[in-house]
Symmetry: C2
Subunit: 406 residues, 2 copies
């Protein structure tokens, strides 16, 4: 008998038909003799509908984050109770638990709280009485007894956190794709489903917009060595296993990913004093804005130009912070551009094989795609290009590395 | 400075426009220097929509009551957070609290839990920091840390419970009517709004289907001597004050009410042994079915016939219980009828004035309305009549007692 954590996203539970489909998957695993904990997101568009209700009240201004969390947490409350009912209807005992009931203790950073720990007492009690436990993903409780949410994609993290806290044997993340592909299968016809992938590779792909798994969930899975399986709730096919050491494939790279959620910001004529760049980036970091590719160049009159990227949804906020800072130190212009895309290749094989980056650049050169910025790490090469060229770039790079799969 | 508890029903918060109307009423009271606790129900049709979702899963069978509570409690979670946002938008600090956060400890009778106590620590803490506290009505937490609901109309009870626990100066129940009337003002043109009414009279009116206030809330208000005001959230007019000793009005009765939520059940030929009737009624009571008017008559061959009424929504359940019992004791038929209505007059004046009942019967006789059963108490006379005659009966009785108000 194993303990299995299964996570289903909003599209997998969007109506009663889908709920019964999920209930079937869950009860099948249960009937094999396993203990099953199910983590679910809010149904379909519920979260967006609730956000719209808040916007009707607040206009364009954002509402109190505490109240937004209170509002949004209602979404999973609906889906967990309905799923528990569907499981009961299929003849298996089931109980639904809210984030706080399932023991999720989080920081009090509303709308983007981090899990501090999971007190699994209640979950264990329910499993002991052979119930299928349905847990609200995405939500927890702060030390002030306020409802918090983990931010978009937080349900993946909830699932992995339970799996880690309970030493689960497997954590299955059900999505609307069949696994992790070498490129987006809806865009690139030759995309190959990977049977296995390492945490680090998955992490780069998640961060880079492959969007199959939330990156915090992969980080957590890596930290606690939880084996993840990414698979589809609609087909019965095996998915992709994410683990520490996947069995070696002869592939140089494991995927090509595109990320259009990028804004590029440039600050010109920064006085050449030590610590100024550090100060600017710490101001952004204080507001939870992650800075990605950074490029520094020499400007005119003993000044520097700094260019970097931030997530597009933080773009306006970042530009404001940077403008204020630039004014305060007597720097030049602040220029930003969000018509850009980041295209990346990821692969553990890179570490031992030279020439991977140049092969990627060659693919782009062949299609006359201009590279604006480059960033590399041990298992990743990213380039910043014009957004219009993004899909073409992904296809060109994929064809170069996987020539036989069209 | 006073502590005021205000309660708003689902229709008062059904959309953003109504939410702002409520926020205005609340912030006006707050700006006068009062501490304000607001109790709200789920928005408009939310509860019905959620019930429909559950029915899609469960067909006609009723779902697990625990899961129904989990599902329905999401309704107030949405309305409290939106109202807190609206209050903040109007410039006042506000915080929303779920039933369990507001300290509502209830029994574990899911879907119809009773409040055991209210731990007001959190509410007090928020009031101390001069916040308007918005509390989810209708919901609480069982000793097993499960979300419970108090049943329909439970938000009134939530409001009175907070008022009682906090020794509030006033508890205002905002509804879509302007107060308590001598009859339903939508049906009877001469209906008069009462400035004041006693708990006992209100209790009879609530029980008898005047439906302005939930009867449990009035019972609780009476027990803790909380002054209630029933008023409209849409007009600025004063409502009706419900209190222990209203200033004496020269009215014989304070209202005429109609209740069509009634099923009449008759059991024929019950063997004449002591205790059989008691056993039957205790079986109903064990299932939380309230028996109202009871009539016993002599049947054939040394047997008895017993006729009584139960709420219509419990009718099917009651008939089943009674049939089983009748079979087990060798009684005769079980007959039921739900095409009936109970029409009642209520008034503390009755105690000291003779002839009130006969005046009522005369009014019915004048219109040729047949009385099937009669029940009286110190401040109430109820008759059971054909449902078709209900509106006519109310009007006839009202005209008789309030002849000058058409």
């Amino acid at each position: 008998m194993s303990l299995i954590v299964q996570k289903f996203g909003g599209s997998s539970v969007k109506d009663s038909e889908h709920l019964f489909n999920v209930a079937k998957i869950v009860t099948d695993k249960y009937k094999e003799g396993n203990d099953v904990v199910v983590v679910v997101s809010a149904q379909g568009d519920t979260t967006d509908d609730l956000i719209e209700k808040a916007q009707e009240i607040n206009g364009n201004k954002s509402a109190s984050k505490r109240e937004m969390d209170m509002l949004l947490a209602a979404g999973e409350q609906i889906s967990i109770s309905l799923l528990a009912m569907a499981i009961q209807k299929l003849g298996c005992p089931s109980v639904s638990l809210l984030g706080w009931q399932a023991g999720f203790k989080t920081t009090s950073a509303h709308t983007s709280a981090r899990i501090r720990k999971v007190d699994t007492l209640r979950i264990k009690k329910e499993l002991d009485s052979r119930k299928i436990v349905v847990v609200a993903g995405f939500q927890g409780l702060s030390r002030y007894d306020d409802v918090t949410t983990l931010g978009r994609g937080g349900s993946d993290t909830s699932a992995v956190a339970i799996a880690a806290a309970m030493h689960a044997d497997l954590c299955q993340i059900y999505t609307d794709v069949e696994g992790v592909y070498t490129a987006d299968p809806r865009k690139v016809s030759g995309a190959i489903k990977l049977p296995e992938i390492s945490y680090d590779e998955m992490l780069e792909l998640a961060t880079l917009g492959a969007q199959v798994l939330n990156n915090r969930s992969v980080e957590m899975a890596k930290k606690y060595n939880i084996e993840l399986e990414v698979l589809s709730s609609l087909t019965k096919k095996p998915g992709t296993i994410v683990k520490e050491k996947p069995k070696m494939e002869k592939m140089l790279i494991s995927g090509v990913a595109k990320d259009t959620n990028v804004t590029r910001i440039s600050v010109t004529c920064i006085p050449d004093k030590p610590g100024l760049a550090f100060k600017m980036f710490s101001k952004l970091s204080a507001r939870d804005i992650n800075v990605d590719i950074i490029l520094q160049s020499i400007g005119r009159n003993n000044t520097k130009d700094i260019t970097f990227t931030v997530p597009k949804d933080k773009g306006t906020e970042a530009v404001e912070i940077v403008k204020n800072f630039a004014d305060s130190i007597g720097a030049g212009e602040v220029i930003y551009d969000d018509n850009i895309a980041k295209v990346s290749i990821v692969g553990a094989g890179m570490e031992t094989h030279a020439g991977v980056a140049s092969k990627m650049f060659e693919a782009l050169y062949d299609r006359q795609i201009n590279i604006q910025m480059i960033s590399t790490s041990e298992i990743k090469v990213s380039v910043l290009i014009d957004k219009r060229d993004a899909d073409l770039a992904v296809e060109a790079i994929h064809d170069k590395f996987f020539p036989d799969n069209d």
